[in-house]
Symmetry: C2
Subunit: 130 residues, 2 copies
DNA sequence: GCCGCATATAAGTCTTGACTTATACGCGAG
DNA sequence: CTCGCGTATAAGTCAAGACTTATATGCGGC
């Protein structure tokens, strides 16, 4: 998942956000925004744009001397899928965990410490989160 | 979106994948996997686990002398939401841009300014850069 | 209490990559 | 053709952070 290496940089994330809300933006426009928000130079932005381009996050269209950038959906969808898969596995595990707990909570008291060689087979309590 | 800074590292991504598919794993188990796949040492993995912990990606449970790690869904969901929002904006803004670029390669003729539509007027900025 | 195992932290090194300035490239105007 | 503007690339510097070795902490067994 190379995509997350690209998304790891806050400047690049912000550039993508701007492209998302604006639809398309010229390189100059993006430079202006990044300069205002991060205080970085034109070449710095251009290098970020190259990374985004090579990772397929954006497309470029030439409009006269200007380069107009637009967001591409596919890499975003791919990253989203990776996250969703993780969560899928996670909730699946949580479900079976809760099922087992609901079934055997009474019958199963603490039975650990007789088998130090094995990995933990199940959780003692379901981790509640938001 | 601090979450993406965490997900930016391939070792951490792999640790999360393992946790997702295994349900829970002891620190030692994760060390073994990371050592095998990346050839890194125990402290290296421990430091990655700290990052994951502090960002809320995992929970830790003490089982005797062992630390048992498990995935948390919330940060994943949050990152997923950020991506989905971007894609939402993007598809909402859907112009002929994407399709034109995808198949307009053979006809390498760009008719500029046939599109008076002002989708991206913010390209110009009044100030000159230093 | 003492020892050993599982894990975490400390301290230091080294690589990655984000930034800088300087320069090259391409296009439209005159 | 030449100039100027917009953008990309080159080359070099610097800092973040991922890794190392060495050491501290905490728990269970004896």
């Amino acid at each position: 998942m190379e995509a997350f290496d690209v998304l790891g940089d806050p400047v690049r994330r912000r550039l993508l956000e701007h492209l998302a809300s604006a639809g398309e933006l010229s390189a100059g426009g993006l430079v202006a925004l990044a300069r205002e928000e991060f205080g970085i130079s034109q070449p710095a932005v251009s290098q970020h744009l190259r990374v985004l381009r090579e990772a397929g996050f954006v497309t470029v269209r030439a409009d006269g001397p200007r380069r107009v950038y637009a967001l591409r959906g596919e890499p975003l969808a791919e990253a989203e899928r990776w996250l969703a898969d993780l969560r899928g596995f996670w909730s699946q595990r949580l479900d079976s965990l809760e099922t087992e707990l609901a079934r055997g909570r009474r019958a199963r008291r603490h039975t650990r410490s007789t088998d130090p060689d094995h990995a933990a087979p199940a959780a003692d309590e379901p981790r509640r989160m938001a």
